[in-house]
Symmetry: C2
Subunit: 283 residues, 2 copies
């Protein structure tokens, strides 16, 4: 039986810290505020917005919902971002993506002020993650992985960490964040030839392959910590991760469930960034 690395425990701890931070900011007259920019009425965007709003409000962070119709032009979207950049009462901006095809998403992302880029999507945020300096914000999902490791007291220094996946949203930043925490880091991907052998040697295994059951019993060994970043829907319509939980859990030392693991913490990290942004903008 592996230790279950439940996201809700990490989230509860973060909530406590953030509530205190928000109170301290409010005592100084600052109300940490997140603007969520949504174009159109796509169901998953609405669901994500609802979740983020609820989590923000639970610690006292205000949310301003900015809605554009599906027919809004690229220029209207740009004007919206630029106006939020200038608005001193907005500390963080979350742009729900993908944007409609008639908008140049890259240009809109580039227009976002890095100090309000609480989702870590701008080039300036990315270089901070890569170069280990504070420019914008780290992407929320890999940071959620680090919050989980920290909360459960899992040592990283000198440990072998294996990241399965090399995306810019999770794999690469997770590798950088583990390097910063003094782990020896290996990045695997679809061209890796001996995945089970490499994964088995890991002390910490972060799986962000984007594919259900990418990591099974053949890839793990006793004592390992497994962080499953995947969110997939299985044949029976049930949510599952990139790790074959049923097969892996009896072998390893600790593992995150899906749902209830990394995804749960990711939203809290987003809120943490809004609070951090409000602090940085009001030193």
């Amino acid at each position: 039986m592996a230790m279950l690395l439940e996201g809700k425990k990490v989230t509860a701890n973060l909530k406590e810290r953030l509530t205190a931070d928000v109170e301290a900011l409010k005592a100084r007259g600052i109300v940490p505020t997140l603007a969520i920019v949504r174009v159109g009425e796509k169901e998953d965007a609405i669901a994500y917005e609802r979740g983020a709003t609820k989590r923000c409000e639970s610690v006292g962070v205000e949310v301003r919902s900015v809605l554009l119709s599906e027919e809004a032009t690229h220029d209207e979207m740009m004007a919206t971002v630029e106006s939020l950049n200038k608005d001193k009462n907005v500390h963080g901006v979350l742009i729900l993506r993908p944007l409609p095809k008639h908008m140049d998403e890259a240009k809109i992302v580039a227009a976002l002020a890095p100090e309000k880029d609480i989702d870590g999507i701008t080039d300036i945020s990315m270089v901070g993650t890569y170069a280990n300096k504070i420019t914008g914000f780290d992407p929320c999902t890999p940071e959620a992985c680090m919050e989980i490791l920290e909360f459960f007291g899992i040592e990283t220094t000198g440990k072998n960490a294996v990241v399965v996946g090399r995306s810019l949203v999770v794999g690469k930043p997770a590798a950088m964040m583990l390097l910063k925490r003094n782990a020896t880091v290996t990045v695997c991907h679809t061209k890796t030839q001996n995945l089970p052998e490499i994964c088995k040697r890991a002390d910490i295994l972060v799986v962000c392959a984007g594919k259900a059951k990418a990591v099974g019993a053949d890839c793990v060994s006793p004592g390992q910590t497994v962080i499953d970043v995947g969110i997939n829907v299985d044949d029976e319509g049930k949510l599952c991760g990139d790790v074959d939980f049923e097969a892996v859990e009896p072998i390893v030392g600790a593992i995150t469930p899906v749902p209830g693991g990394v995804g749960t913490v990711t939203t809290s990290v987003l809120v943490k960034h809004v609070v951090e942004a409000a602090k940085r903008q009001n030193p």
Copy 2:
């Protein structure tokens, strides 16, 4: 006996390609030009400038030497960089560092136009290396390692590459460039606990530890390709790498000498970037 990965062979090949590219540019009235900015008369800066100038001239790239006295102010340096940014006849700018302490080096680097950043030192260049897109230029030293692998036909896809060192100048970009080339990449550093074991498993071993003899016979195995980025001076005053060449060479499959390996190619990569910059600025 390992195959000797001699830099001069790579350089000769690059020289041929670059000479042809420069001729094509000149036929269009464009003279690829590098500005080298040097502050003061430090010996190693002068030596580096001399080497780069010679290599540029050997393929027809012009060099403009921009000298500031050791007493030049931060503002004078900024004005110099800004004027070179605007100068349409200058395609690349090399700022010899470290700058004197009374200048804010970070600010000066940030002022450099990314399209002229042929040394890959700006944040915008760095994010290109990290995110695998063209923004500025990759740093010259890790790119020299890739040129060596390519020239000697060493396969990277699906191979295990181990990078010893996690600096922003060599280790991290080398890891990113190997990932781009589909290698499975492990980054080791001073906190790595089982270095010999990890290094032995590599197909390609890139050593940029910044320490003489950081990698010895205990870290290598038959058939490996070893790229030694180090430049140190040993007890007898002789140049040596980060790899114990005498001990390692008889075991591995291929190895770069020091001197005559990566360092030789690095200067040619700098020249390649100037030519590439001239092309990009004149599409």
